[in-house]
Symmetry: C2
Subunit: 221 residues, 2 copies
């Protein structure tokens, strides 16, 4: 059985897209920053995970999750998202407050519990932030969402999720009364500071590039 720490390393590796064959392999440096430990700690842990056949790497070489490591990581993400869904849908938590608690709950060891919770939640496919919930078998429904940052001006889109679920961003969305499911239009770009105008329910809002890049959308036909 994996320790919570080992699980966290695997999860972050998957979030960084470190699956086998994925070109944009990320540095252990960034992993260290993200996990808020020193690079040497990351190095020590990677050796340990390699020993357990969960990652693959050679000194000064490329780093990858093995299939086994990826599967483990996916299950942790599944648990994280199911718990977040529970907290919001059942316990009526604000969507900005659930991530921290889910960081703890994702390490509870009981496959049976997750099956029961999944059923109780009526088999949700996305979490409160619009992130897909993998199946029991570890499969993600393939999704067509794109970043609002990649959308042409004057296209109608539906917001389906957020990239980063930081409280500051989520609370900002709440303040603007923008929720998942909202239909918006990216109506203008201000070259000077790369800011944008978006239209939402008759109102026009003015937001930053960072803001629009943080939203997942799908075009509405």
């Amino acid at each position: 059985m994996l320790s919570q720490t080992e699980e966290n390393y695997l999860k972050h590796l998957l979030h960084f897209g470190m699956q086998e064959g994925n070109a944009k392999g990320i540095s252990s440096r960034q992993l260290a920053d993200k996990l808020e430990v020193k690079a040497s700690s990351v190095n020590d842990m990677l050796k340990k995970l390699k020993e357990k056949n969960l990652v693959q790497f050679e000194p000064y070489g490329k780093l990858f999750l093995t299939t086994e490591g990826e599967q483990k990581a996916v299950q942790i993400i599944r648990k994280h998202r199911l718990w977040e869904t529970f907290l919001v849908n059942k316990l009526k938590f604000n969507w900005a407050d659930v991530h921290e608690i889910a960081e703890q709950l994702e390490h509870i060891q009981s496959a049976h519990l997750m099956d029961k919770l999944d059923e109780f939640l009526d088999f949700p496919t996305v979490d409160p932030h619009g992130d897909p919930i993998p199946t029991r078998e570890g499969l993600f429904k393939d999704d067509q969402r794109i970043s609002l940052g990649d959308v042409e001006l004057n296209t109608l889109v539906k917001i389906v999720g957020v990239k980063e679920d930081s409280p500051s961003f989520l609370n900002y969305l709440d303040k603007l009364k923008i929720q998942i499911g909202a239909i918006i239009e990216l109506s203008a770009k201000e070259e000077f500071d790369e800011s944008y105008q978006i239209k939402h329910e008759e109102k026009t809002l003015h937001v930053s590039q960072k803001f629009i890049e943080n939203l997942w959308v799908i075009p509405t036909s």
Copy 2:
């Protein structure tokens, strides 16, 4: 913040009735057996908990939980029992299967979560095994339950709980179709092997002394 290990020590000390002023102070030997560690490990941990003002003890002397230690322990028990209630009432777990998972869930750190869960469960006062759930403030409703082992023959009683929530005992009760709330009568005792006859819904059952001592009951007037 306390580690899970520290929390487990405190919880077990409370279960052993080690509150200040309680005469039946238990030995660290028994604590070691229960926690499945060596006596020396217990000794090390007790020193640490003493340092943190959670227990009080001198070498070769009596051992007690401080008020602070007791409060912490009560909160852990509260969390354990609320989670068990959630698992049975909401996720439809069998009452024999929840203890193990609650052992993990009791260590999740979020007072807000427990308040929300408490509300979601409609403020339960007892867990699925009939054990009282302390309030937010750490108070146990004082209870009149007594052991079925201490009941006179031919008294009608209502089963309100079980002492040990081991799967073997709980599954045995399921097999006998005896649930919490059942009205039974202790109808006869066999001197030879200290076994008993109990009446339950027209049927007469034959059970051991260990069995009846494991049930909490209240007399029905």
